[in-house]
């Protein structure tokens, strides 16, 4: 391919809209072009930021009732009759009302589940984006050290919480450094590990006071994401390493937070 990828090509790539031949062509170009790779990443981050910022206006509480009223009135008018048929109509209406109430209850619980799954999906996408950006960036981590006594104190005054880092890591697991980053406008510690040749990002943030304790796993674009909580912290680990190896590191980090390994204060 001559020159760089067009802005439309890059946008379509971010939107997952390229055909297989186009995708292969784009990937081939990206593998040798740092300018287009940086642009592609920028567009992915922009898409993610726009998606979040675009959900801006919440539906007023009474609007649903107002807009659905014509449908209800129309149904009622079309079913109107007199005498015996009227009685049957009222009975049917009562049955419908019961059915409607049951449906609303089911829908409400379903909606809560939907919201939770949307939030989980957004978190997975966001940590994936941040991890890929860290992998692709030519800049070293903001704190470059394999020493947990250097990495942890670096965050003092930068984030409104503290955390522990595990000691006694398995032989091929190394702490590479860390970044201060943001997830959903919240400051987050991004710890960078390597397991063999695979890179791992572990994001740590303070759990919002009213938030439920979450623990789930997901796969996204060949990467495995594990979200887990410990005390007041919520953490998300992402990597393309074998999920069992990732789980091993996650368990060590989780144990470190409970105070088994190291004290919570100090480094």
């Amino acid at each position: 391919m001559n020159g760089h990828l067009t802005s439309a090509m890059l946008s379509a790539l971010a939107d997952g809209e390229l055909s297989m031949p186009e995708l292969a062509q784009a990937n081939e170009h990206l593998s040798g072009c740092s300018v287009c790779t940086a642009n592609a990443l920028n567009l992915s981050l922009l898409k993610s930021a726009t998606a979040k910022a675009g959900h801006r206006f919440a539906l007023p509480a009474d609007l649903q009732e107002r807009v659905m009223r014509p449908a209800g009135e129309r149904k009622a008018t079309s079913g109107r009759s007199t005498g015996w048929f009227g009685m049957v109509g009222w009975a049917a209406a009562a049955v419908l009302l019961l059915a409607f109430a049951t449906t609303m209850l089911v829908q409400r619980s379903g909606r809560r589940a939907d919201i939770a799954s949307v939030e989980e999906g957004a978190l997975v996408t966001e940590v994936f984006d941040q991890h890929v950006a860290a992998l692709a960036g030519s800049l070293p981590p903001q704190v470059l050290s394999t020493d947990r006594h250097t990495v942890k104190p670096w965050f003092q005054g930068k984030i409104p919480f503290s955390f522990n880092l595990p000691e006694g890591l398995p032989k091929d697991v190394t702490l590479e450094g860390a970044n201060l980053t943001y997830l959903n406008d919240q400051p987050v510690a991004q710890l960078l590990y390597s397991i063999g040749r695979h890179r791992v990002s572990v994001f740590m943030r303070e759990k919002p006071p009213a938030a439920a304790v979450r623990s789930f796993e997901a796969d996204h674009a060949g990467f495995h994401v594990m979200v887990f909580s410990s005390g007041d912290l919520e953490m998300a680990a992402v990597s393309d390493v074998d999920p069992a190896r990732l789980a091993e590191l996650v368990n060590l980090i989780r144990k470190a937070q409970t105070g088994d390994a190291t004290p919570r204060t100090g480094s």
């Binding site: 760089h4 067009t6 802005s7 439309a8 090509m9 890059l10 946008s11 379509a12 939107d15 809209e17 300018v35 940086a38 642009n39 990443l41 920028n42 567009l43 981050l45 922009l46 898409k47 930021a49 726009t50 998606a51 979040k52 910022a53 675009g54 959900h55 801006r56 206006f57 919440a58 539906l59 007023p60 609007l63 649903q64 107002r66 807009v67 659905m68 014509p70 449908a71 129309r74 149904k75 079309s78 829908q107 941040q130 950006a133 960036g137 800049l139 980053t181 943001y182 406008d185």
Partner: protein, 197 residues
């Protein structure tokens, strides 16, 4: 049983609304969000959503079951917006398709130099608050804003967007690219203004 012609006519005139609520309700928050972005005020947005739902209810019989209801109802919203007071005002003040430099081939419309090659923009997007992105979105002309809302916020595929906006897929592709280039410029411009202040 054979019905008398006037009875048959009466029965046929009753609009088919069965199942409308089940299909429409899940899209109501999204419709209101997009309507408020386009109308730029909540009162007009509520009117827009109410009129959309009324039109959708009236025309529900023409909706083919099994086809894309989301694209169908968003198309009604968009057409209702275009004929609304704010939509007509936007039409008069916003550059027309040709003036926007529509490029059906999907090639670069903005000069390559307009696309920042440096990492500060990436950092800006990563670090900037939601309000900065919202301000940048507010600067987009309606044809670009609506395409970015459908693509990024409503997560529609290009094919669905083409169906909502009644334009070719190539135009969707170039419009999305131009919207993003404009957003990037607006974000960089906003950051530059803040650093100068």
């Amino acid at each position: 049983m054979t019905l008398l012609s006037w009875k048959r006519a009466a029965r046929e005139s009753v609009p088919q609304t069965e199942g409308f609520g089940d299909l429409a309700l899940p899209f109501l928050p999204g419709l209101y969000n997009v309507a408020t972005w386009l109308a730029r005020n909540p009162v007009d947005a509520e009117d827009l959503v109410q009129e959309t739902m009324l039109k959708a209810l009236r025309g529900f019989a023409s909706f083919e079951a099994g086809t894309n209801f989301k694209a169908w109802i968003f198309r009604i919203l968009r057409n209702t917006y275009l004929t609304s007071r704010t939509g007509l005002a936007a039409k008069r003040t916003v550059a027309l398709e040709d003036e926007l430099g529509e490029n059906e081939s999907g090639g670069a419309v903005y000069p390559e130099a307009a696309i920042d090659r440096e990492t500060p923009e990436m950092n800006l997007i990563r670090l900037s608050d939601r309000a900065a992105v919202q301000s940048a979105m507010e600067t987009l002309p309606p044809p670009l804003l609506e395409v970015i809302l459908l693509c990024d916020v409503e997560e529609m595929k290009y094919k669905e967007i083409a169906s909502v906006l009644e334009i070719p897929i190539g135009t969707v592709m170039s419009r999305v690219a131009r919207a993003r280039a404009a957003l990037r410029l607006a974000l960089v411009g906003g950051a530059t203004r803040e650093s100068r202040a």
